[in-house]
């Protein structure tokens, strides 16, 4: 069992490399914790600014514009919303453009007057930038404030016409909601604005923290001049690659567990304190799901390492091999970026084919289904795809490391310029010499 001997030896070396070990286990915890703290700070400690230009002159003793302002402040108190009154709407718009405010509201002069007319419909202008969690939260607060005033006015107007029947006129149908909650097989609940990008973050971190280990394991043997002796042992090339990859994978499993703990830390920290009111639901990862997540991460890391190993097979030292790491690290970004904004099926056919060719696409989809759901039979296909990719990459890596160039180095640079061709090497060469 030569592969097992190599696995144990490499594992021993990896464990003794304290710096690398810390990088793959402690770093995910630190990075995710930092991310959680920063996100929480961003959501709660930096105020969400709304500017209100209230031109409403009221109607008699009633001023609905002031009521709207009051309601906005009330609703916004849980998310540290700051409402700033501006006299000019163009100034308020400029504040949004500058990023100093997320949203600007213009309440017209005749707001209260028109609301008091039976058929009056005043226009509220809201100027906002697109996207962003804060913008979404602020928009929701403004909608809720004006929605409450609308409800009151609507009821008041109908009551003027229909008296006590106003309620039945306004609510002719009683709707009873029966909520269907999308669940994955593990009954997880992660319903946060984070949901979509979390799988991508996990894959990226798993790839980034583990990608260098295999380079040191394989190319390190070459650089330290131990590969040649190793290759003259009875252990097959398959055994060497399997042993080395499994050793690195064992450490990567530790890393995957650290990443899993990191995710929980990240989300818990992000939506703690004041921010908890934005997302009332909490992360809850059941044990079976934890195992699935670690397995997906381990497969992802194995693929990452095999791609790196295959790509660095032509390198003569770790410096050259490290050049391939950047390229490998960009692959998960390429495969996941389009999926952050749309589903795979909504992409053009050629883009879909391209995405299906990238192994990290399957990692992302599986993680997405595991964490957010819903799971489907496609997940089985994704798992098979990852297995096929792993085996194919094993085969490619073994073939690449089976080349003579791995032992003798680059043929052109080492051998092409030093000596002229001899005229009497083999009969074939002799005849070739004669021809030329």
């Amino acid at each position: 069992m030569g592969w097992y001997v190599i696995l144990r030896k490499d594992l021993k070396e990896l464990v003794r490399n304290k710096r690398a070990l810390a990088l793959v286990t402690i770093m995910p915890l630190l990075l995710f914790s930092a991310l959680g703290i920063l996100s929480n700070y961003s959501l709660t400690k930096t105020p969400t600014v709304i500017t209100v230009v209230n031109e409403d002159q009221g109607y008699g003793s009633i001023n609905y514009g002031q009521q709207a302002e009051y309601l906005i402040q009330q609703y916004g108190s849980s998310v540290d919303l700051v409402m700033v009154n501006e006299s000019s709407f163009s100034v308020a718009q400029q504040l949004v453009r500058n990023g100093q405010a997320v949203l600007s509201v213009l309440i017209p002069r005749d707001f209260s007057y028109l609301l008091n007319q039976t058929y009056g419909t005043p226009n509220i202008t809201i100027y906002t930038s697109s996207g962003g969690t804060k913008t979404q939260v602020a928009s929701q607060i403004v909608d809720d404030a004006f929605g409450q005033i609308s409800d009151y006015i609507r009821y008041h107007r109908v009551q003027l016409i229909a008296g006590n029947n106003a309620s039945s006129i306004l609510n002719p149908i009683t709707v009873q909601y029966q909520e269907f909650i999308v669940k994955n097989p593990f009954n997880t609940t992660i319903s946060t604005p984070y949901g979509g990008i979390l799988p991508a973050l996990i894959v990226l971190l798993a790839v980034e923290t583990n990608v260098g280990l295999i380079v040191d394991s394989l190319i390190g043997e070459k650089e330290r001049k131990t590969l040649e002796m190793l290759m003259v042992t009875p252990v097959s090339r398959w055994g060497i690659i399997v042993g080395k990859t499994l050793a690195v994978l064992s450490v990567s499993l530790l890393s995957a567990i650290a990443i899993l703990v990191g995710i929980i830390l990240d989300i818990s920290l992000t939506f703690s304190g004041l921010a908890a009111s934005i997302t009332p639901q909490q992360i809850r990862i059941v044990p079976l799901e934890g195992v699935a997540l670690v397995a997906i991460l381990a497969a992802t890391v194995a693929i990452t390492q095999l791609i790196t190993a295959a790509m660095s097979a032509y390198a003569t030292n770790t410096k050259e091999a490290n050049a391939s790491i950047g390229l490998v690290m960009s692959l998960p970004v390429v495969s996941m970026y389009p999926l952050l904004f749309s589903s795979l099926s909504s992409l053009p056919p050629l883009a879909q084919v391209f995405m299906y060719m990238l192994p990290f696409t399957y990692s992302y989809l599986l993680l997405n289904d595991t964490l957010i759901g819903p799971a489907s039979l496609f997940d089985v296909v994704y798992i098979l795809a990852l297995v096929v990719y792993t085996l194919a990459l094993f085969w490619v890596t073994v073939k690449l490391y089976g080349r003579e160039a791995v032992i003798v180095g680059g043929t052109k640079r080492s051998f092409g310029f030093k000596r002229r061709k001899s005229a009497s090497a083999t009969p074939e060469l002799q005849s070739r010499d004669q021809r030329t």
Binding site: L230, S236, A425
Partner: protein, 241 residues
């Protein structure tokens, strides 16, 4: 059965002929030296002999079989010219690791490693990591890695390169002991005195071709030279710039 039987070995890299119709045989229990200037084709020849690379043409039989077969590899070892040791393994662990890789069981590997640590004078450096060993000590550990499986054929590319005078002599003594025990040894070296001391048969290789082959005394007589160094100068050309 010979330890090595090489017939018409040729290795071509692109348009470059590294080894050109090389033939030689090494008998069991025989010590054989391959000498030649830098870039003459010695290392390539040894790599073909160990099965690391395939010859473009010609045949190679080692210990009666294919050098890349498991059976043959269990019975031979190679010490490459610039081989290194593992930085995060101790001297003992490194030798023991190679014992296991070459098919010894745990107990055999442990026993053999203990013997070699003593034989190579590494007792005080037994638990020292490879990263903390001097060049000479690393070379000793490498020798231990080669000897741990008690090989029938030992191939050593510049075994005393970088060693001090005492350590180099110890290695030469060790090689002579191994030959006396019936092991076959193939050695390359730039140290002609060492070659004369260790090898029974010499092959001088230049530009990929063997230009002289025989016992040292016979070769000196045939070419009318006083020393191997003179013979070397006479039969080889300076390395191309």
């Amino acid at each position: 059965m010979d330890a090595i039987q090489a017939v018409g070995l040729t290795k071509v890299f692109g348009s470059f002929i590294a080894v050109d119709s090389v033939s030689f045989r090494v008998g069991l229990g025989e010590s054989f030296a391959l000498i030649g200037p830098n870039g003459a084709g010695k290392t390539t020849t040894l790599r073909i002999v160990t099965g690391l690379i395939k010859p473009t043409s010609g045949t190679i039989r080692v210990l009666g079989g294919d050098p890349s077969s498991k059976e043959v590899r269990r019975r031979m070892s190679i010490l490459p010219e610039d081989a290194g040791v593992y930085e995060k393994l101790s001297s003992w662990e490194t030798i023991y690791y190679y014992g296991l890789l070459r098919g010894l069981n745990k107990r055999e590997a442990e026993q053999r490693t203990d013997e070699l640590i003593k034989q190579l004078g590494l007792e005080t450096k037994r638990n020292e990591f490879g990263s903390r060993l001097s060049k000479g000590l690393k070379r000793k550990v490498l020798l231990g890695m080669c000897l741990v499986n008690d090989p029938d054929l030992l191939i050593l590319d510049e075994p005393t390169d970088g060693l001090d005078v005492r350590s180099a002599r110890n290695v030469r003594d060790l090689l002579n002991t191994l030959v006396a025990e019936g092991k076959s040894i193939v050695v390359t070296s730039h140290n002609m005195a060492e070659i004369q001391n260790v090898a029974k048969t010499i092959a001088l290789i230049d530009k990929g071709k063997i230009t002289a082959l025989g016992e040292p005394a016979q070769l000196l007589s045939d070419f009318n030279q006083k020393s191997l160094e003179d013979l070397f100068i006479m039969l080889t050309q300076p390395e191309a710039v």
